[in-house]
């Protein structure tokens, strides 16, 4: 009976009005809109340019001058996967040290290879050069293997990278978007004014996250569409699963944004807190390189990070076509951060 009697004078439910207010403020901030959508594209393009697909990079080889150098040069120049670079005399040591060449051939009899075995590129260069020179010297191979080069869409570095950038975007926009607007409202004493009205505090917090979810579709969609249509990344899993994972991720990071903003009174304070929370995840959660590179002892902590869970789930769906039910661990981690963050934020929140 009582709820039937509610007359809002032409306004909608407070949750809707609060979320609309949040959205309108964002949409009327052109710079915020620009960065939310352009930043992930710039990052994808830059990373794709810096790390082209595997096998595309030739081994760069330098040859020291001396008798026989010309023959070696002619052999290597015609061998596949090898680029010969001319190094000024006396400069070989530096060129090798700085990675300008991956390997240096000294024309002794038999030839001498100078390289740094700790470098993957150098070891690859050694194998290629060795094979090319021995074949030229008359070696016959017992057989030639069939090769299936990993140039299939979906197995390149950039395909692996895009889901990471989608995860990064969801984290960044959710947390910054919510954190800054709350601190701004607190600084303007708008929060205090709101709690002096009959607004429910939980509805305010829910609306902050809800308002952002509307923006999630374009924010996650832009880098995904860019990946699919410009870079040819396949999406092997279902779009529904992908959307659900993005949604759960945005809820988790939205809650964390609320939590970090729950007591901060200045932009300096919230910026510091945001960086403190996000920078470790940029590094540890496997956005740009696999998090399995970190020591075993760190893995439980890394796997518990929300960004790791989000990116792992996104990669499983995009690259392997994993169904949602195989991602329960990742979804549970995200839900845990979301529920815990929201509860803590509601409890700690400073409205004044």
């Amino acid at each position: 009976m009582k709820s039937d009697a509610i007359d809002r004078g032409g306004a909608s439910h407070p949750l809707i009005e609060l979320a609309l207010a949040r959205l309108r403020e964002f949409a009327r901030e052109p710079e915020a809109v620009f960065w939310a959508f352009i930043f992930p594209i710039i990052m994808s393009v830059t990373m794709a340019a810096a790390f082209p697909g595997s096998g595309a990079k030739p081994a760069v080889v330098g040859i020291e001058p001396g008798a026989g150098a010309a023959a070696i040069r002619a052999t290597l120049a015609s061998a596949p996967g090898i680029t010969v670079r001319d190094i000024p005399a006396g400069d070989e040591g530096r060129a090798l040290r700085e990675g300008e060449v991956h390997l240096l051939v000294v024309p002794t009899e038999p030839p001498t290879y100078r390289f740094d075995p700790a470098r993957d590129e150098s070891r690859v260069a050694r194998l290629l050069v060795d094979a090319a020179l021995k074949q030229a010297a008359g070696r016959t191979d017992p057989w030639t293997a069939h090769e299936e080069p990993l140039q299939v869409a979906g197995s390149r570095y950039v395909d692996w990278l895009i889901p990471g950038i989608v995860g990064l975007t969801i984290m960044g926009t959710s947390m910054w978007g919510i954190g800054f607007s709350i601190v701004q409202s607190r600084m303007r004493k708008l929060l205090k004014r709101l709690v002096a009205s009959p607004m429910r505090k939980s509805e305010y917090l829910v609306a902050q996250i809800g308002g952002r979810l509307v923006l999630l579709a374009p924010e996650a969609g832009v880098p995904l569409l860019f990946g699919v249509f410009v870079l040819g990344m396949p999406i092997r899993g279902s779009l529904v699963s992908l959307s659900i994972v993005c949604l759960v991720g945005a809820l988790a990071f939205g809650s964390l944004g609320l939590l970090l903003a729950s007591r901060a009174r200045t932009f300096e304070a919230i910026s510091g807190l945001m960086n403190f929370a996000m920078v470790p995840m940029w590094i540890l959660s496997g956005v740009f390189f696999s998090s399995s590179n970190f020591p075993q002892a760190m893995q439980p902590a890394i796997q518990a990070l929300p960004l790791t869970a989000l990116i792992d789930a996104l990669r499983s769906i995009v690259l392997e076509g994993a169904p949602l039910q195989s991602l329960t661990r990742e979804l549970a981690v995200l839900a845990g951060w979301g529920v815990g963050g929201f509860g803590l934020a509601l409890w700690m929140f400073r409205w004044r």
């Binding site: 509610i6 007359d7 004078g9 407070p14 207010a21 901030e29 303007r188 004014r193 009205s197």
Partner: protein, 231 residues
């Protein structure tokens, strides 16, 4: 301690003013009454209800304007009103609220583009959104030009004539004399005088006031030896 042993009684339908210099404890007092600050000791009863037991109902029945609040710059006047109106279960329509504060022509303007007086009228309109029985105003005309002040006074007078109760703070003597039925003069967190403005001025007696008609300023000076706004 900003306020100490301060006791007030405001009748329904009256306009009561808390008067005092900056830092006297006016804002602390009004925020305790608004349920935004919890007093270390003492009791607050509003419309026969307490904050502890009836917060939800009280919030529906009072209207609040805070001294320092800046409403969102990038929302329009109408959007801001819709937001505040959505929290109340009864009250006027958005159009009526716009009409009362004479902001109909500004309904699609961003709040950030309004003048000081227009912003303040919008703040009052937000406070009136739930058709409150009791209105709290913390220094409602501070920083406004004379015309805007007069406009706001008329607005508050109209609210009172429709049966509303107002509790306001001010450090303007003329504001208190124009609007208030009774005032309490607050200094250092204590009430040093309370009564109708006329009575307080009359209580000074003739000799002190020779060059002009007596004002509340004279009352304050005679009680404290200081001027209200000297700091």
């Amino acid at each position: 301690m900003a306020v100490d042993g301060l006791s007030l009684h405001v009748d329904r339908g009256e306009c009561f003013g808390l008067l005092g210099p900056n830092g006297a404890g006016k804002t602390t007092t009004i925020e305790i009454l608004e349920g935004l600050l919890e007093p270390d000791a003492g009791e607050v009863e509003i419309l026969g209800l307490t904050w502890k037991d009836h917060e939800r109902e009280l919030r529906q029945r009072i209207g609040v304007q805070l001294q320092e609040t800046q409403l969102a710059d990038k929302l329009t006047v109408e959007e801001t009103l819709r937001l505040f109106r959505s929290f109340y279960h009864r009250g006027r329509t958005i159009d009526e609220l716009l009409r009362i504060v004479e902001l109909e022509s500004k309904r699609r303007s961003w709040v950030g583009k309004l003048s000081g007086g227009q912003k303040q009228r919008l703040a009052v309109s937000c406070a009136l959104a739930g058709d409150p029985d009791l209105l709290f105003m913390d220094e409602p005309t501070t920083g406004l030009d004379p015309q805007s002040r007069r406009q706001l006074w008329e607005l508050l007078s109209r609210f009172r004539h429709e049966g509303g109760t107002i509790l306001l703070t001010t450090h303007y003597m003329d504001e208190a004399e124009t609007l208030c039925d009774r005032v309490a003069i607050v200094d250092h967190g204590k009430v040093i005088a309370e009564g109708a403005p006329r009575e307080l001025i009359a209580s000074l007696g003739a000799p002190r006031v020779v060059t002009h008609q007596g004002t509340l300023e004279d009352v304050f000076v005679s009680l404290t030896g200081r001027h209200l706004r000297e700091e």
